[in-house]
Amino acid sequence: MLVEAGHFALALALGLSLIQFLVPLWGARANDPVLMAVAPTSALAVFACIAFSFLALTFAYLNSDFSVLNVVQNSHSAKPLIYKISGVWGNHEGSMLLWVLILALFGAVVAVSRNSIPMRLQANTLGVQAAVTIAFLLFILTTSNPFTRVVPAALEGQDLNPLLQDPGLAIHPPLLYIGYVGFSISFAFACAALIDGRIDAVWARIVRPWTLGAWAFLTLGIAMGSYWAYYELGWGGWWFWDPVENASLMPWLAGTALVHSTVVMEKRDALKVWTILLAILTFSLSLLGTFLVRSGVLTSVHSFAVDPERGTFILGILILFVGGSLALFAWRAPMLKQGGLFAPVSREGALVVNNLFLATACATVFIGTLYPLALEVLTAEKISVGAPFFNFTFLPLIVPLLLLLPLGQTLAWKRGNFLGTAQRLYAVFGISLLATVVMFAFTYGGPVLAPLGIGLGLYLVLGSLNEIVTRAWSKGTPLAAAWRKARGLPRSAWGTAIAHAGVGLTVIGIAATAWGIEAIGSLKVGERLKGGDYEVRLERVIPRVEANYREEAAVLTVFGSGRELGTIETMKRLYVTRGMPTTEAGILTIGLGQVYASIGDAQPDGSIGVRLYHKPLVLLIWIGSLVMAIGGGISLTDRRLRIGAPVPAKAIPPHAVPAE
């Protein structure tokens, strides 16, 4: 019964979204405040319906209601509670429901922040957002209904894909979706501005927190997915340039550019048209990512043709929104007024360069991901585009960008002085260069690029913090006073510095992977395997039987320079219901580095294959991403983002109304 109610609520949400789409847009056009006021009310109602629907599905999972097809296919009564919950979005139908839930949630938040957003803008924005909601609700209801019943009900479920039975994966999709869908708000605001034909710094100030929040969540989501791949897939890589990863990297790159261009728009009223276009492109790339992942087109062009219904539907949505918004852009953008002049050497100029590099990097990932598909469709020729291509093309784009980053961050607005700026960074250049040389001397004969990468990372960290230091402290200032001044700096300045320092930390972590050591061997119990400064001894192999899987666990003792450092356990699991094997890496964290081991098949002579890595500083890759997201969060708490727009007329005392 509850299941049917959930299904019905979804249909009701569709009807309400239609109202949320049509009435406010009409109201904004006719300048009718009553019609425009429908926007927030209907947005809240849509959210309530979708939330109810989502809870109904969650309830079916919690109760292992095996009369629901979706639950049968993705759950099992013996599954731990957390995976019963995460199983709701660990499948196609449920993940799409989560997608619209987050979409509606964002709409609801826009609806309740009615005091800080001008009414027309809010009405137009929620109207555009409702259009996206309608498309995805239609998609779910017609092709991916999670509430389909099976008669007769099954006795037991088929279990959730074992690779997804992991705490990391339980929160990875929601983080990623908040990022993806968050950009829908920037998109809706951009379309609203185009519809209204008006755009100014107030618009930028309203949109910025949404973009920044979405960006921070997307950063976390990608980092989370990367760490999961690192410890779960068992061969120690953390980024594979896989199309599914690229699908999330593209909106991230475009979103990063957007976060920076909105700053220019907000502070200097410039780059308006570009910012609008970027907002449209960022969400388009989010949609593209959803299409790539959900349509199965990536696995093979043919699997897309086998089950064309869903793929074609999302492709339709993609074409409708990308095409529609770009048409709107082409029609209305020339009417937007340009403003804000600046010299090429200025903070604005630097941010234009930042956008140029990020847009090119994004285009590179885009072409690399889609080119093989396009080529196969057009000429039936099959090529592969993988990691070597991306490393070859992407790195030359990112390194110059990173080199320019501290300079750009230090440049003055409007008209900067390049030499003067460079002078403020002398100490940073010096220390980083020195560190590179020292590192190079110490690791002489090792990989050449690693010390350079570490130097670059250090330069980014110091260069970012330098901004705070030079703004708060000058020669002769007592430290206490400098600290007070530093604390008084705007939160956005701190956020910028911290996020940029996070980039530096990630760069250091990536550079240090070049010093990683790998050893492969087959061990019998009691035998040792040496990899660099570390060594493991196979203690025992224990077979275990758990509720929904069997595993063989190898216990290894880790030694470093003769001392015992600890034990790690690495497993090979077999999930019984699906007959699917997985590996669980054993990881011992030492400082910021990790000793990482995974086991393979038993050899004929009774030994077991062991793969051992030492990965120095590897944790910095994800710590850096976390710091980036924290920087975004701190920037969000900036005072100026919390200031509301002028209070509506009713709050003004009657005598203040000018006579007409």
Binding site: H172, W235, P243, L341, V352, F389, K572, D601
Partner: protein, 153 residues
């Protein structure tokens, strides 16, 4: 979002093990290093976007052994790659060759960079330069008066 890949990967690996097996490693560390470098650039044909160095599939294992066989026989890295391309087509290379069919792929980064740069430059140049605010006669007179008053005071 990686989980879709993971699902596909997991379905393809009948027997899960891990990429390079202990038995495959060559005695000569120099040759082994070259073998690893070549492997990282070759696609496991039955997997989704994995190199044979990372893959657990049987085919990847066969290809790894083949690469090592050729290296031991004295082939250069290029010869090994050419041999595999002849057998399996260009699909086996993770970094496609530069040619007519991949022109757009290889040139896009440079193209976007150059066009974007030119576009940004042009947009900045054609922007109406701010006219230096000049005073008209009346204002100039007013200013002179003010200055005069200042001097006399």
């Amino acid at each position: 979002m990686r989980f879709v890949l993971a699902i596909v990967a997991a379905l393809l690996f009948s027997a899960s093990a891990f990429a390079v097996q202990p038995g495959e490693v060559l005695k000569d560390p120099g040759l082994e290093k070259r073998a690893r470098e070549i492997s990282a650039g070759l696609r496991c044909l039955v997997c989704q976007n994995q190199s044979i160095d990372d893959s657990d599939a049987q085919l990847a294992k066969d290809l790894r052994l083949l690469v090592r066989e050729r290296l031991v026989a004295g082939d250069t890295n290029d010869q090994v790659e050419n041999f595999l391309v002849q057998r399996y087509g260009e699909f086996v290379l993770l970094k496609p060759t530069f040619g007519m069919h991949t022109l757009l792929l290889w040139l896009t980064p440079a193209l976007v960079m150059v066009l974007g740069g030119v576009g940004a430059y042009a947009a900045m140049r054609t922007r109406p330069q701010p006219k230096a605010a000049t005073l008209d006669d009346e204002e100039r007179k007013a200013l002179e008066n003010l200055l005069k008053r200042d001097q006399s005071a």
